[in-house]
Symmetry: C2
Subunit: 215 residues, 2 copies
Amino acid sequence: MKIKVVSKILEANDRIASENRKKFDEADVFVMNLMSAPGAGKTSLIEHTIKTLRNNLKIGVIEGDIAGTDDAQRIEALGIPVIQINTGSACHLDANMINEVIDDLPIKNLDLLIVENVGNLVCPAEFKIGEDMKCMILSIAEGDDKPLKYPLMFQESSALVLNKIDLMPYIDTDIEKIKRDSLSLNPSLKIFGVSCKTGEGLDRWTAWLETLVHK
Amino acid sequence: MKIKVVSKILEANDRIASENRKKFDEADVFVMNLMSAPGAGKTSLIEHTIKTLRNNLKIGVIEGDIAGTDDAQRIEALGIPVIQINTGSACHLDANMINEVIDDLPIKNLDLLIVENVGNLVCPAEFKIGEDMKCMILSIAEGDDKPLKYPLMFQESSALVLNKIDLMPYIDTDIEKIKRDSLSLNPSLKIFGVSCKTGEGLDRWTAWLETLVHK
């Protein structure tokens, strides 16, 4: 019975995701759904991405959090249009939540809309929101066993950003194991090693993203 | 309508949690529900707790993961009775999942049953499983904004274990802010700073836990 409930929710979600998709296509905006566990660095990556690409692309952001507006304030400080969704108790964004805020963003004037999902390695990967692609961040401080324990997010993502590589000398995480296991789940996954603290590796990430948006 | 579905599930869950509670009371076993985001160090903390307390307490473990048996293998290597629950796509353990495995553990011979929940800072806090107490781990590498963004878990937990304090010199996390915000959400929260890598601070944690089990 519980499974029936979930599939009903997912069916309704997919229908609304298609509506969102149509609106995004009409506005000619590229939508990235950015996912990770709590504290992996989603907002920091978005800040860096905005700073690097803002001269070339018009960018907007939707922030998803259980509670609070910290992340939206960080984005707003950069002068970028941003909407905060507080999900209350829901551990992911769904298509309907996005649907309800689309008209509050100037999507026709945007090239790239970044949606920062709720910090969670599980459910966000199950709910389409009408995005062009999903990407995920993994902090290397989370350890090297995550791909095999949370396979769906690695399978659903187009890119895996390995953040906090500045911590490499101080932790035991086997980066090669992460890459190997991720690619076994998703052979076409693009993998980027970055540090949002030092800036290392971010150029490759932003260059790749810009190419996709311009396609 | 979605809210109605959730409340029905939670009501059914609470009923089964009460059944579990009764079984645990009859067996006189203390049950700790251990929660955290992915990669915060739940299994490492359990390993340390077992090594320190195994001469004084009979301990058993239930491992919850979306997929894989890595964690259960780590516990089994210590010669401790352990059961792995693979939730498939569910991002938390619920009372029914625990109910189905209780009889496979020698709970009448146990003093302490540790349940390692799925790595997720959101949903595990919503589902009672019949435990005596919930505890949570936060890796300080996750940053200092977690209490205000994921308040329920901090409110539901009896103890907050701040892990990976060995990384303190290399990150910008404001530990005092974490403590302040956590205590504002839950003034009776016990807070422990530990490093499962160096062993620092773990004695205080295990001493506290042992006192509770013996009560």
